[in-house]
């Protein structure tokens, strides 16, 4: 029997009025893999993350987690099952302290590891600061920390390096790759910073106009002319 994938979307379709944000997308990510999901703005990357995490409903298709159909599960149930995600925007709870936010996220965790996460992401000194009063880079790390509480099995990250400097982005990428390897987390990473994506991803999926344009290892993706023309240019 073939090994089930950590997260798998089959024939996923999401429609806004007459516009199809996802057109029957098939995506399967192996256990322990770091998968990059790239594409131009409006390609459907965040929509796909929303559908996989249960934040948005899909019109048709199924979502499976380790072989089990989770399409009917709410976002909260998926979180309890070990599927965590981050968000494009930071500072979602600006009035709450760092530790209060991690406390909320730990509700879904069988083993709340707040101290461990704060240490891994250099947030310990900021524990009692309001999120609105910490730097943007720290807010980004807090966003990642919220998703990592309880050592999720699958992590969906929506542009975790957006707005960071080159140095901060690469540091975040290093932390992410290290944690994913040590904890055995499967990662689906949406990111516009190609240095981050090509440096840590095992495989990359390119989404364009709600459909998959290409899929392969970083080297294979670099060699797809349509991807280079439509999205990468000469940046990688």
């Amino acid at each position: 029997m073939a090994e089930s994938h950590a997260i798998e979307g089959s024939k996923l379709t999401r429609q806004f009025g007459g516009f199809f944000a996802l057109k029957g997308v098939d995506l399967a990510v192996k256990r322990g893999e770091i998968r990059g999901l790239i594409g131009p703005n409006g390609a459907g990357k965040s929509t796909l993350i929303d559908v996989l995490s249960g934040r948005a409903e899909h019109r048709s298709g199924t979502v499976r987690m380790f072989g089990t159909d989770i399409s009917a599960m709410t976002a909260q149930q998926r979180r309890h099952a070990g599927l965590a995600r981050s968000f494009q925007r930071t500072n979602i709870f600006p009035d709450l302290t760092v530790i209060d936010q991690l406390d909320i996220a730990s509700r879904a965790a069988e083993m709340p590891n707040i101290d461990e996460i704060m240490a891994e992401l250099n947030l310990t000194a900021l524990a009692f600061r309001r999120a609105a009063n910490i730097s943007y880079g720290d807010q980004r790390r807090l966003d990642l920390a919220l998703a990592l509480i309880g050592r999720p099995k699958i992590l969906l990250l929506d542009e975790p390096a957006a707005g960071l400097s080159i140095g901060e982005s690469l540091e975040l990428a290093h932390i992410l790759k290290d944690l994913a390897a040590r904890w055995g987390v499967t990662v689906l990473l949406v990111e516009h910073d190609m240095e981050v994506v090509f440096s840590i991803c095992d495989r990359i999926t390119v989404l364009h106009l709600g459909a998959i344009l290409a899929e392969g290892t970083p080297d294979q993706i670099r060699g797809v002319p349509e991807v280079v023309t439509a999205y990468l240019g000469s940046s990688v």
Binding site: A75, R79, F93, D95, A109
Partner: protein
Amino acid sequence: MLVQILNGLVYGGLLYIVSVGLVLIFGLRRIVNFAHGSLFMLGAYVGFSVAAMGGFWGALLAAAIVLALVGALLDIAILQPLQREDPIVTVLVTFGLLLILEDFAQFVWGKDFLKSPVPTMFSGSVLIFGESFPVYRLVVIAVAALVALGLSVWLRLSKIGLYVRASSADPLTTAMQGVNTDRVSVIVVALGAALAGISGTISAPLLALSPSMGSYILIESFIVVVVGGLGSFAGAFIAAIVIGQVHNLGLVYVPWAATMIPFLLMVGVLIWRPTGIAGSHV
């Protein structure tokens, strides 16, 4: 002047207890609960009926418990099933509920105005800087202050309070962190309804009871919520105190414009700060 300011605090205190329930429900559900005024009215009638047998404290407890149950039912039977619908659907349904509850009150307690006596233990007046002021009105101010303090402590120090603050900022994301926001919602709507019930009961000796008494305070409570900043507890407190003063001083000094003043204040605040006094701060 001192008496007018104290009377303003009495009205502001009542407005705060009603409007903070609206703030709680709006923060979590992102809907404007038009039935909230009728919860205040029901609290007044329940308190009126129980006070004859159980005294003031019995009435207060009964109103809080009955209205909390009504609130829990409202959330489970109406707000939760409608949470995926367009917010206007919920607004219309709660408006319909307001009319139904008014008819229900008319059926049970009649159309005529009823007057609840001031509890014996709080009858009489005290002298404050040489001015006489009814003890019961001071009790109303004290109850409002206790509610504000208790709510603030609960929101800051309890786990549920933390979830309420998070849900008020972003309910969907809070749910995605693993918090059962439906359960939090039942608690919050029950608490908001209980506060409306308490407010109705303590206001009964000050106001004439009628099935439509909830509509008037509902409008001023909406003004409090908008002026304070939608979903802000601290903003609602400040706005309720200010509107209580404006309302009362207006009645004394410019009675011909008294009903307009809260609306003018709201327009002024919205031009100055479109997100209200407290903005998006919970």
